[in-house]
């Protein structure tokens, strides 16, 4: 088997040590960093995502694969420059003010991290202003909000309005999720997308950032 395929396979099996070792070996053999990243690590993660969506594998398998991907990334990191280092962007996430439900939001965070994004998690009960401040401070490309109560959903609209006032709309994409949310509601408040689960959020963020 070709070493890139080997790396991808070990990543799919959730074997961090093997992935790190093979990544090191491939570097020694002169495989370019970009190729290792895209054809070894990210392509392996892509397969994992597809298999999860098809219900062939479970959430723990995805998280183990993500761990293996990070082990490979650690080896590549010192050599990554410019464009490669910035393959993924920053996503600021949080559960809106008044709402303490954070399980779904946490899961979305885990999945986004697993897909290679830098996630800034503001926690729960987050005031509107905080989303905007953190997005500006970190140069985030996406703000993600979660709400599980019909009574706290309206806070999401306030955040979108604030983003508009600060001239962030368009530059920063806004995604929303949680049991009472829907496509229609997201449109109504001017958010860019509604995401129905963690994997859907990953796909959505990738779409916004032009990552296949």
């Amino acid at each position: 088997m070709d070493i890139l395929e080997n790396i991808s396979q070990s990543l799919q099996n959730g074997e961090p040590d093997t992935v790190a070792e093979l990544t090191g070996k491939a570097l020694d053999d002169g495989v370019p960093v970009k190729e290792l990243l895209h054809k070894g690590l990210l392509s392996g993660m892509e397969v994992v995502g597809e298999r999860f969506k098809a219900h062939e594998i479970f959430l723990p398998d995805v998280l183990l694969a993500a761990k293996a991907m990070y082990a490979g990334m650690e080896v590549l990191k010192p050599l990554m420059v410019g464009e490669e280092a910035a393959t993924s962007g920053t996503v600021v996430i949080g559960t809106v003010q008044g709402d303490l439900h954070d399980i779904g939001k946490n899961l979305v965070g885990i999945m986004l991290r697993g897909a290679g994004f830098n996630v800034v998690d503001l926690g729960k009960d987050v005031p509107p202003e905080r989303f905007i401040e953190e997005a500006q401070r970190t140069g985030a490309r996406v703000i993600g909000m979660s709400a599980l109560l019909t009574t706290t959903m309206p806070v999401m609209g306030l955040v979108v309005n604030l983003a508009r006032e600060r001239g962030l709309l368009g530059k920063v994409k806004i995604i929303v999720g949680g049991a009472p949310l829907s496509d229609e509601y997201a449109q109504q408040i001017g958010a860019d997308a509604y995401c129905f689960d963690g994997m859907n959020a990953v796909d959505c963020v990738k779409g916004f950032l032009g990552i296949n």
């Binding site: 999860f52 219900h55 479970f58 959430l59 723990p60 008044g98 303490l100 399980i103 779904g104 899961l107 109560l149 019909t150 009574t151 706290t152 309206p154 049991a179 009472p180 689960d197 963690g198």
Partner: protein, 485 residues
Amino acid sequence: MRPTLRFLTDELINKIVDEARSLLASLGVEIHNDSVLSMLADHGARVDMEGHHAWLTDDIIDRALKTAPASFKLYDTLGNEAVNLAGYESNFTPGSTAINILDQDGKLSRRPVADDYVRYAKLMTGMHHIASQSTAMMPTDVHEKISDSYRLYLSLMFCEKPVITGTFTIEAFEIMKDLQLAVRGTAGELAAKPLTVFSACPTSPLKWSDVTSQNLVDCANWSIPVEYISMPLSGFMAPVTLVGSLIQHTAETLSGLAISQLTKPGAPVLYGGSPAVFDLRYETTPMGDVGTMMQDCAYNEIGKYLNLPTQAYIGLSDAKLLDAQAGLETSMGATLAVLAGINNISGPGMLDFESCFSLEKLVVDNEICGMTFRMAKGIEPRDDFPSQPLFEELIAEQHLLIADHTLRHLKDEVFFPGPSIDRANRSRWKEEGGRTLFKRANSEVDRIIAEYTPARLSDDVTAELTRLMETEARRHGMDKLPEVN
């Protein structure tokens, strides 16, 4: 003999409780409410105010267990006894606080409005196997700050049954308590005849938020019963093993018990919960999972062992429609719950992970509840020994349709479900329109609502309830409440 179900031996229960107690003493519990932490410190708990943490010793748990009542009753709006939460007595209440309602076409789910809520409350008056109402959904045509109190208001106005409810915020407690005082007249009367139960949820793992811990204190101070709704999500936010999740559930529930009982010894409480075995494929919290149901029954056994009345979210479904999955999950849960003797069974009417309520499902579930009650009565000998005279009669007459024995025992022995359950032969079923379960249930919904007789609260009380609610609405900038009738 009442048939009963057990999943745990006393030995295993002891081990689980001991383990939970030692977690509370060693890891402690996070409590984001300074006055609750101070109160616990006053009772000898070690607390870290900055870290929002309390460690609960065996002595504190023992005191809480000693003062918590082993049973209590709920009374309807007129003051009549309606629900007995004791021993192995099971009572049903509809699932609570849905985000959506299944529309009358049986397919679409949409946001409920006040009119839907009123139809629900009227329908509840005809659900004879469901002893209490719950604030089953959130009307969305009122300001969100009053949507929790407004549903209690509508329930009290339109249905006499006691109400299983809860607040979304600390502030909403005040109006929800005042509405109850308006019905009962005085605080003493409300304490003597509880009208509601408030759900209060710890956050797994081992955490109480400012809102829910304050709810415990407020309810205890007014002797309003609470049910602790601990929700370990096995495999995600709790151990994947059922025993591991039960240890977590026990620790979280005992910590709630300590807050209530130290606030006011003797405060009425239900040892409740809504655990779920997390579905690691779909990222969901299935109420219809068999392990979820087993946990419900098992922690109820722990509650009984600790001499406390119990509650569970069981007898509901994750299906999106009133389909076969809805029937199988609901009836499996309801059957297990009654066999286990859970005292307050929250479930009927609910679909879609506790997010969608269906009036038609409520009608069908009411029949399921009736069937389980029949089952719980068990098999008892009546005039069955000696049997020879009855068989002589049968041989002579060739039937027992009008035998004294039949007439005497028919009503007690046989449970006849309502018309939503199909018992016709195929030809008659076709003759009567060949209707689906949903259509039959839908006709029942319409019939019962059409035959509704208004709740009998006095005009003075209803006027006071309306005054209180209108004042609360105005406080949030709403000049008028929706027109309902």
